[in-house]
Subunit: 335 residues, 2 copies
């Protein structure tokens, strides 16, 4: 995170910063429940506990990081406004947090992002600036330029301490809710793009539930985090877009998030698109939840990659539910 | 509720019985959250707070009443087992509660009930006895006969004090959660079939949130509760089955539930099937929830019958999410 006015922007994320973010989020972000189904347990061969962040404000965990960052701004910076670049979920999270906090928001989105996500971001009160992915300017460059011109604070989607600390509040809740469910040793599977959610959860678990181990899950072909964890250095994806799980595709692991994952995460997992669609259908029939493709990869791994997971229980995040009706109907037809 | 072993079966439901049921449910039923979306608020022209009982165990509020009744059985009666008749949601609720409590369960279901509901009930460990709706024996008669033959305790779907007290725990949670959200005066819309959920919520609100008023919502053409509330006596539906909202169709208001509703409920509401399908589509896109048709009637009334509702906020239950993929895809295509 760069730009004026963001406190603690350069600090490493620690449990104190995470607890402070959780305190700012209290009463504003939803405390999502921990769900389960005997039918899913049977498929997975172990208890499956599901943290449905699709039920979070704006339909994904991204609201947590956005609120964490924006609520930490000093009043002058908040009044000038914020800017973010995102293909969807981070955009909506920042737009809604900004609206609730009375801050102007500019969101830089690819012109070919799903129509619904662009419309939702506008409807939440943000100014949307569209860019052509094929253009010479990257979204990072466009964001930095507009931020400088208008004095806006840039809220990065994952490589920002306050954003990671906000996503980490999911991990604090998992630690408490898993203990209440009698689970103290298990893999915790998180849908992974830039790694903000994964790194945040890993840090929270390290401090509050050391028997729970974070593992990343990605779509096959876009599993740079798994490959980076295996090689020990930040590997890149061959493709930057395309594929079913658009919400969690980024070119490489984050500069801040990857060192956290390298230190704390277990081996990364990857699932096929067919497995993602089946997981979406089972979230529909067994949990009554709408999961977007990128938000269903962790559930898919719990259900269909059971032999790659250890322990008598597994905890999974459903990271978002912003999926169009056509894609969802396709998942139901196949599932 | 009849049969041996059910404590308090003849008593009127009061707040002490409701609090006792809630205490038995604690740690077993889910405390569902209270959700919202700025997009739904905009459609309704007021705040819309949604209690998603589709997230309850077995996908509907029915688990609450089933657990309330079964957990109150003495050990001998529980060991002999229970019997219930239901086209779906009560069946699954009783089957799962029985499995968790180690009681055998027999469920009498119509042979033409949705396949998924029959399969789920069996998969939850219950013995399913199918009957032909056109047969001379009613489900009540079949249930009573098998109960007598095998010494089973009959768990009626709504006209039973312990079942009403269990469903009423939904109302206790609404009272607390609405107060936390700053809402103390509002209509509370409940999807209404036999009236167990509606009557239970009405009793809980009377005791714990007297500024909140229960109102029933039914499908048009099956709105006997609304007509009965208007006339002051129990009116019957012309048809007993057919229509989109199969889960909440019963021939007339309950003998125990109707007097409670006549004393406490506001005017009944009714919605069209087209409105139900649109509400299901909006629950999908704005709340990331799967609502079944009968479970979406209250949300439909909040969104599309706003002029028939009073106050700055409205609270709605989504009573269940047990819908097949084809019906759901149809709602998404129309919505």
């Amino acid at each position: 995170m760069s730009g004026a006015g963001l406190a603690a922007a350069g600090e490493a994320v620690d449990i104190a910063m995470i607890e402070a973010a959780a305190a700012r989020l209290a009463g504003h972000a939803r405390r999502t429940p921990l769900l389960s189904s005997p039918f899913l347990d049977e498929i997975a061969g172990r208890r499956v506990l599901v943290k449905p962040e699709c039920l979070q404000h704006t339909g994904s965990f991204k609201f947590r990081g956005a609120w964490s960052a924006l609520s930490a701004l000093d009043p002058q910076a908040r009044a000038r406004g914020v800017i973010a670049y995102s293909s969807g979920n981070h955009a909506q999270g920042v737009a809604y947090a900004a609206r609730l906090l009375g801050a102007p928001a500019v969101i830089v989105m690819p012109a070919d992002a799903p129509r619904m996500k662009i419309d939702n971001t506008r409807a939440l009160g943000a100014e949307v600036v569209l860019y052509d992915r094929a253009n010479f300017e990257s979204r990072e460059e466009i964001g930095a330029r507009i931020a400088a011109e208008r004095g806006l604070t840039l809220v990065k989607p994952y490589d920002a301490p306050l954003v990671i600390a906000g996503q980490a509040s999911t991990g604090l809740e998992i630690a408490e809710q898993a203990a209440q469910a009698g689970v103290t040793r298990a893999d915790v599977l998180a849908c992974c793009g830039g790694g903000g959610l994964s790194a945040g959860i890993a840090l929270a678990l390290e401090a509050r539930a050391p028997g729970l181990r974070l593992r990343t899950v990605e779509p096959e072909g876009f599993d740079y985090t798994a490959r980076s964890l295996a090689s020990g250095r930040r590997e890149r994806n061959a493709a930057e877009a395309g594929g079913l799980c658009d919400a969690i595709l980024t070119p490489e692991p984050g500069a801040l998030t990857f060192p956290i994952l390298r230190r704390l995460a277990g081996p990364g997992l990857a699932v096929s698109e067919a497995e993602v669609l089946r997981a979406m259908a089972l979230a529909f029939s067994r949990l009554k939840l709408v999961a977007e493709p990128g938000g269903a990869v962790a559930l898919a791994a719990a259900l269909f990659r059971a032999r790659e997971i250890e322990g008598e229980a597994v905890i999974v995040t459903i990271s978002g539910g912003n999926v169009d009706a056509e894609t969802f109907a396709r998942a139901l037809a196949l599932g």
